[in-house]
Structures are given as structure tokens and as C-alpha cells.
């Protein structure tokens, strides 16, 4: 077989392998579509002998680890469960300790993550749980109460969509029984995959939900919240538009601590340990999500638990006094935590009624942590942290005026989100600009050299740029921006952000380099070189081709073919003995 034939055969084999892989990815098995959205649905009930117990899991082939089951059981019921009569909704987040993911599901998920805004990427290590809990009097039960929860588990942070979904499913399930969960799961198994940028219609139990999956670059999603750009739906239409996948009601949830909003923003930005103490899981989870979202479009990189209980498997790890508090945000309701977490540096205390918190005068100064002894302490922020930036009085005044004039919540919400978005963007702008300056020049991309990479981040060099063109110019806020940056550089948020940018940019540079390679006259170059250099080029070309498959780079097939052909023709131009070695 001559080398051309061989090359062709190899190419065919490669293509066949690729297309087989593709087929595997494209073939739809039962539960494939479901698994793109949810991990499973659990029903947790109160068993007189066992306490909270898993009644069933659907689809039934899903296996949860014992640890996960235990966490789900405790987190599906309110912790200090006295007043929660009727229906309650909240959500939680747990570490995932079970389950291998199918190869083709993983491919899909990677594809989704690549095109999705960072804050909506799937969580590789955690599961979100969306709970609908019902507690009502029930004479037929020995305990006198009916207590049950329906929980949707997912890797996707679609807070709004899944909260709405479980609100549709759970009441019907309580009414109709297990068949309903079965039917709902089959509906979800017909949903199109979540592809960023697509508007989808999702049939569920006789209605159709319409959602838009935001794509990377849709910055306003989440930050500016509810974008009602969809056609308004007439009443009685069989279509329900879900305005946002994950937007939380920032203003509503943070209203009790509005005077400290900038301080909280700094704490979240720099991954400071933060605990939210509230009367119910519904309130703590709203507040925790709102806090995470204050730094949107930046992703909060360390752990956060919208609702955390003393039974949680990470309880010891997070409350130990042998080390300093971990850089996480916890939402708790059990009064026991007031004591356990006394040593935490920042505590946010949210009262029973968020609406009642209209009197601003009392809450203006952060309180010292020592004064928080029990959960009966007054709402507010308990910390000794001094914010680096001076207070923005304008936004405070505008929001306060809105409260006085009873401006609609949505308007207040949009105002607060915009303010926070601009603050985060001002902070990030200098960083983005500095990172751009670390890019190699276009002319440094040579097909004969290694692909260039992003230069290292130099903190001092960056801070020198801030002196004359820092965020003080765009945000108008005075304060010690430099120290805030220094603190940020030590945080996981910075590391995560930079890693992300670095990967993105290096991938782009790889692509540019590949293009340069494919356009270069390889044979001409080889004619003028020593054999050693030519062999070196062949090896490098193979390395590049390997990169493409391993990193799953978005490259046109023509480019790959061109590189293959280039490599083969170089090999053909070599003396026979060398050719034999290289063709192996």
C-alpha cells in the first residue's frame, strides 16, 4: 500500500470513527433529553419510624449515594419546622458524590457550557434541589399531619424555571399520585436540549412553557433581570412565557439590608465567609441567590448553600473552629447556628417579614458581631469589615424614594440590578483591559513557532494602570480601589475569572495559529531546512491535530483536512528510511 492510499485509508478510518462518535452523540436514548435538564425527581415523606425518608426516585434507574439521600431528606423539610403550615417553596445545593455521566451526555454538557454565560453553566460538582413542601392537617395520619416534599434535582442553576416547574408538578402530584410524576418525567424527556440562544417550548402536564436560553454575551440576562421582550401572551393562551431562567428578586430579597448593599457586594466579590440567618428556608435561599447575583456577570466561584442544616454532611467541615471560617455563603434557619457560627466575621440577619422593613433609620450602621447572641437579634449586617469604597448616596436615596412613593417592585429591582451591574463592570473593566494588553501581537503568530500564549498576570503592573485610568473614572465612586483589588486577587473569584479568560484567549490563539499553519506553504519551508527541522515540524503538526480532538476545538473540517494533507505531503517528500519511521 503506498503512502497516499494509506493516508486516505487512515483518513477514512478517522472519519468513520468520528461519525460513529457523532452518531453516538446524536442517538437519543430514553431519558437522554430528561438528563439534559434534570438529574431526577425525589419525593420525601415523613415516616413515623424513620423521620424524613425518600419515598421514591424517578426515573428509577437513577442511583443516589447514601450521603446524597441523607442530605436531600434533611434539606427537603424546613429545619425549624413549626410555623410552616401549608405550602412552602425553597431550594438547596449539595455536593454530588454519586454517578458517572455517560460520555455523550458529557459532550453535550461541555458544548452547552462553552456557549453559555458563566453564571448559567452547569455545575460539575453540585446538584441543585428545588423543593415544594406541603404540611397540612390530616386526620387519617397518626401524627395528625400530612408532610411531604417534591424535589427536583438538577445541575443547572435555572432557579426561576425549576421553581416554577416544581410548583406545577407538586400540587398535582399530591392530588393524583405517583403516575403524575411518571407522566411529568416523560413530558420532560420530550424537551429539546437547552441550547444557548434558543427559544424553546417545553410541554409539561397539559401546558407549554416558553423559555429563552441565554447565550454567552447576553450580559443583561440576570443582571438586568426579567427581559420581557417576548410577545405578550393573551390570557387563556395555552402558552406560558417564563421570562427568565434564573433571575432572582434582588430588591425584594436584599431590601432589609439595602443600606449595606455596597459592603455586601465587596464581601461577595472577595469571597468572604458569609452567613445569612433567616426565619425560613424560602427567605434564606432568596437572599443567598440575590447575594451571589450582586457580582453578576461575574461567577461566584466558591461554595454556597441557599439552605444549610445542622444535619448536612458538610456541617463539621464548615463550622469547625480549628480553622478559620471557609470562604462560603450559607443560608441557615436553625437558631442553633447563632451559637455555632458566632465566630464568623460577617453575618446577615433577615427578619420574619421583609415588607415590614421600611424604617431605614435603625438599620444604617453595621452592627458588631459580638452583639449577635441568638436568632432573636435584630435584622441587619453584623460585621467589623470596613468597606473600601465610599458609600454611594445617590442610589440609596433613589431606592428610598421609591419605597416612599411605593414604586413597583420590578422597577426598584431593575434599578438596583443596573446599579450593581455597573459597579461590577466598572470594577472588571480595568482588569479586562489589562488582560487584553497581555495578548501577544498578531504578527507574533508564526506557523513555525509554538502557538503564543497569554502573558502572566502581574499584579503590580496592573495596579499601576489603575492609578491613572481605574474604575474611579467610570463609577465615580471614591475609595481605596487598590486595596479592594489586592483583596480580590487573593480570592477564588479572581482565580476562577482569570483562569476562564486565560483558557478562552489561549484557545483563540491556538485557533489563529492553526489558521496560520493551514495557510503556510509547508513544502517550500521544508525545502530550505535541515531534515531535523522538517521532522520536528511533522511532530508539531501532529501535536496540533491532537490538540484539536483533545480540546474539542471548534475548527472547520476543511482546515483539519488541509493540515493532514500538509503533513502527509511533507512525509512523502522525505527520504524512504525517515518516511518509514514517521508513518508508523
Amino acid at each position: 500500500m503506498n503512502s497516499l492510499e494509506k493516508a486516505v485509508t487512515q483518513q477514512i478510518m478517522r472519519e468513520r470513527k468520528n461519525s460513529e462518535r457523532e452518531e453516538m452523540v446524536n442517538a437519543i436514548l430514553p431519558w437522554d433529553k430528561f438528563s439534559q435538564w434534570l438529574h431526577c425527581i425525589c419525593v420525601v415523606t415523613f415516616d413515623l419510624e424513620l423521620g424524613q425518608a425518600l419515598e421514591f426516585i424517578y426515573p428509577s434507574h437513577i442511583k443516589l449515594s447514601d450521603k446524597e439521600k441523607m442530605n436531600i431528606c434533611y434539606l427537603s423539610f424546613p429545619d425549624s419546622n413549626s410555623g410552616c403550615m401549608g405550602d412552602t417553596q425553597f431550594n438547596f445545593r449539595i455536593r454530588q458524590t454519586s454517578g458517572k455521566v455517560n460520555h455523550h451526555l458529557l459532550v453535550r454538557r461541555k458544548e452547552y457550557d462553552r456557549n453559555s454565560p458563566v453564571i448559567l453553566q452547569s455545575d460539575p460538582a453540585h446538584l441543585f434541589g428545588f423543593v415544594y413542601f406541603r404540611q397540612v392537617k390530616d386526620k387519617s395520619s397518626r401524627r395528625g399531619y400530612f408532610q411531604k416534599s417534591v424535589v427536583l434535582l438538577s445541575r443547572l442553576p435555572y432557579i426561576n424555571l425549576f421553581t416554577e416547574l416544581v410548583e406545577l408538578i407538586a400540587p398535582e402530584f399530591f392530588d393524583k399520585g405517583e403516575e403524575l410524576i411518571e407522566a411529568a418525567c416523560h413530558d420532560i424527556d420530550q424537551w429539546s436540549n437547552p441550547v444557548p440562544g434558543d427559544t424553546l417550548q417545553l410541554p409539561i402536564m397539559g401546558t407549554v412553557l416558553q423559555v429563552k436560553i441565554p447565550a454567552k454575551g447576553d450580559i443583561k440576562i440576570g443582571a438586568l433581570g426579567i427581559a420581557r421582550d417576548a410577545v405578550p401572551q393573551p390570557m387563556g393562551s395555552p402558552l406560558t412565557v417564563v421570562p427568565s431562567l434564573h433571575a432572582v428578586e434582588t430588591f425584594m430579597c436584599l431590601q432589609p439590608v439595602l443600606p449595606h448593599i455596597q459592603l455586601l457586594w465587596e464581601l461577595v466579590l472577595t469571597n468572604e465567609p458569609l452567613v445569612v440567618m433567616g426565619p425560613s428556608p424560602g427567605i434564606t435561599c432568596g437572599t443567598v441567590h440575590a447575594l451571589i447575583n450582586t457580582i453578576s456577570p461575574l461567577k461566584y466561584m466558591t461554595d454556597y448553600r441557599p439552605y444549610f442544616t445542622i444535619h448536612d454532611s458538610e456541617f463539621k467541615e464548615y463550622t469547625t473552629r480549628t480553622q478559620g471560617p471557609p470562604p462560603v455563603i450559607l443560608g441557615v434557619t436553625n437558631p442553633f447556628f447563632a451559637k455555632t457560627l458566632q465566630h464568623w466575621p460577617h453575618i446577615v440577619r433577615i427578619g420574619e417579614s421583609i415588607h415590614a422593613f421600611l424604617d431605614k433609620s435603625k438599620a444604617n450602621k453595621p452592627k458588631k458581631p459580638g452583639s449577635l447572641k441568638t436568632l432573636e437579634s435584630k435584622p441587619g449586617v453584623y460585621t467589623q469589615y470596613k468597606s473600601f469604597l465610599s458609600k454611594d448616596k445617590t442610589i440609596q436615596k433613589r431606592l428610598a424614594k421609591g419605597i416612599q412613593t411605593r414604586r413597583p417592585y420590578e422597577v426598584q429591582d431593575a434599578m438596583l440590578r443596573r446599579y450593581l451591574l455597573e459597579l461590577t463592570q466598572s470594577f472588571m473593566f480595568s482588569l479586562e483591559r489589562y488582560v487584553t494588553s497581555l495578548m501577544p501581537l498578531q504578527r507574533n503568530i508564526s506557523p513555525w513557532k509554538h502557538p503564543p500564549r497569554l502573558k502572566a498576570f502581574d499584579i503590580e503592573e496592573f495596579l499601576r494602570t489603575v492609578e491613572h485610568s481605574g474604575p474611579q473614572l467610570t463609577s465615580g465612586l471614591k475609595g481605596d480601589w487598590e486595596s479592594l483589588y489586592r483583596r480580590f486577587f487573593k480570592s477564588a473569584n479572581f482565580q476562577g475569572w482569570f483562569q476562564n479568560r486565560e483558557e478562552e484567549i489561549n484557545q483563540k490563539l491556538l485557533l489563529l495559529h492553526l489558521e496560520a499553519l493551514s495557510e503556510a506553504d509547508l513544502l517550500k519551508w521544508c525545502n530550505e531546512r535541515e531534515e531535523v527541522e522538517v521532522v520536528d515540524l511533522v511532530l508539531k503538526l501532529r501535536e496540533r491535530l491532537n490538540d484539536i480532538t483533545e480540546r474539542n476545538l471548534p475548527v472547520k473540517p476543511e482546515l483539519i483536512q488541509k493540515l493532514h494533507q500538509g503533513t502527509e505531503s511533507i512525509i512523502r517528500s522525505l527520504p524512504e528510511d525517515l518516511r518509514g519511521v514517521l508513518e508508523k
Binding site: L180, D198, Q201, P203, V231
Partner: protein, 227 residues
């Protein structure tokens, strides 16, 4: 029936800039002002009478002899143009098995039409449609358009229910009627077309945005589609 003026698009084709598949993936806002009406339709009837086959024939114009029983319900979308009006059917094909019967109200809630299907070769399936009609009259949406389909009419040799009995019952309850065959496609799109002409009137005061408009006057008279 004037078949020529009817354009039946396959579920996967583009129409009015609207791209849809069975579980609805849309690339553009479909609304051309005043021409599209979204209609929820649900199929009811005993298991094995051919509800899923009817939907499959209507939406993808295909037929398979052995399809597995539906669990809960399955959903398909299909746009149909009748004259100068477009109807976007949201079709809920419910499971016929007894254990899912309790779920039916979710599927006929807010529905513009229901197709109750029986199998002409099985008398007991015909008896069951009366139960469904009663349930719809008691708990279904007001003004819901009811259609009765006597399916498997290609199996003449095995017939247990006469066409006359079917038609008589349908006219008694003022329903659209047709004997259908998902296998041969007989009367499948026709029954949907007939439904589109007998939908309950839209409540205009609720539709302030003018997204949806119906030009044709309301028709009260219901008639069979395949005489």
C-alpha cells in the same frame, strides 16, 4: 371537501418563519399579526384505539404498526393553514391506560378541542367514548369543540361499530365526526381541519394585544367531515 385550498405542512417544515419540531424549537417569533391561533387539542379514548397513530400520521405523515403504549401523555406541535388562517395545534396525546385516567383533566384543561377516539372493530371502546363525553361536559372547558373519530376504518372485515351508529351519536351531542384510518391516512387531516372550523370563539376582550384575531364569523353548526 375542497382539499386544494388546504396546505398541510409537516411538523418539521418551516412555515411563516416558524420552525418547529415535535417538542417545539422555535427560531423566530412566529406571529404574523392576526393570522395565527394557538389551539390546544387533546386526544382521549381507550388504550389501543390508535390515538398516537392518528397524531403521528397528522404531524409527520408516517405510520408504524407497533408503537409502545403512551405514558402520561405525549406532546406534538403542528401548524395547519386553512384558507387564510393559520392554526398552531398543541396536541396532547393522552395515555389510554386506566391508571392514567386521573391525569386527563390536566390535558383537557384550557383545550380548544378534544378528539375522542374509538376503534370501529371493538364495541367496548365505542361505549367508553360516552364516558369521556360526559366527563368533558361536566369538567371540561366551556364551548370545547368535541370531535369523535372512529379509527381503524381500514379493517372493514372486523367491524363491530357501524358508521351510522357513530355518526348518530356524534350528531346527538353536536360533535364533529369522522371514521379515520391512521394506517391509510383517511380523514386524518380532515378531522383537524373540521375542528379548526368549529373552535370556540375567542374572547376578544381578553386579547388586547391583537396578537390573535379570527376573521371568520363564529360557527355554531357542527357537522361531519367525511360524508
Amino acid at each position: 371537501m375542497d382539499i386544494n385550498r388546504i396546505h398541510c405542512e409537516n411538523g418539521d417544515k418551516c412555515m411563516n418563519g416558524l420552525h418547529e419540531t415535535s417538542a417545539g424549537r422555535i427560531s423566530k417569533q412566529p406571529h404574523r399579526m392576526g393570522s395565527l391561533r394557538e389551539v390546544k387539542v387533546c386526544l382521549l379514548g381507550d388504550s389501543g384505539v390508535g390515538k398516537s397513530s392518528i397524531v403521528q400520521r397528522f404531524v409527520t405523515d408516517t405510520y408504524h404498526d407497533n408503537i409502545s403504549p403512551t405514558i402520561g401523555a405525549s406532546f406534538m406541535g403542528k401548524t395547519l393553514q386553512v384558507g387564510n388562517e393559520s392554526f398552531k395545534f398543541q396536541i396532547w396525546d393522552t395515555a389510554g391506560q386506566e391508571k392514567y385516567r386521573g391525569l386527563a383533566p390536566m390535558y383537557y384543561r384550557n383545550a380548544g378541542a378534544a378528539i375522542i377516539v374509538y376503534d370501529i372493530t371493538n364495541q367496548s371502546t365505542f361505549d367508553l367514548i360516552k364516558v369521556w363525553v360526559r366527563e368533558l361536559h361536566q369538567h371540561g372547558p366551556e364551548n370545547i369543540c368535541i370531535a369523535i373519530a372512529g379509527n381503524k376504518c381500514d379493517l372493514e372485515d372486523l367491524r363491530e361499530v357501524t358508521e351510522r351508529d357513530g355518526a348518530a351519536y356524534a350528531s346527538e351531542i353536536n360533535a364533529v365526526f369522522g371514521e379515520t384510518s391512521a394506517k391509510t391516512a383517511k380523514n386524518i387531516s380532515e378531522i383537524f381541519i373540521e375542528i379548526s372550523k368549529n373552535l370556540p370563539p375567542l374572547e376578544f376582550e381578553k386579547y388586547k394585544q391583537g396578537v390573535i384575531q379570527v376573521d371568520s364569523p363564529k360557527k355554531n353548526k357542527r357537522k361531519g367531515c367525511c360524508k
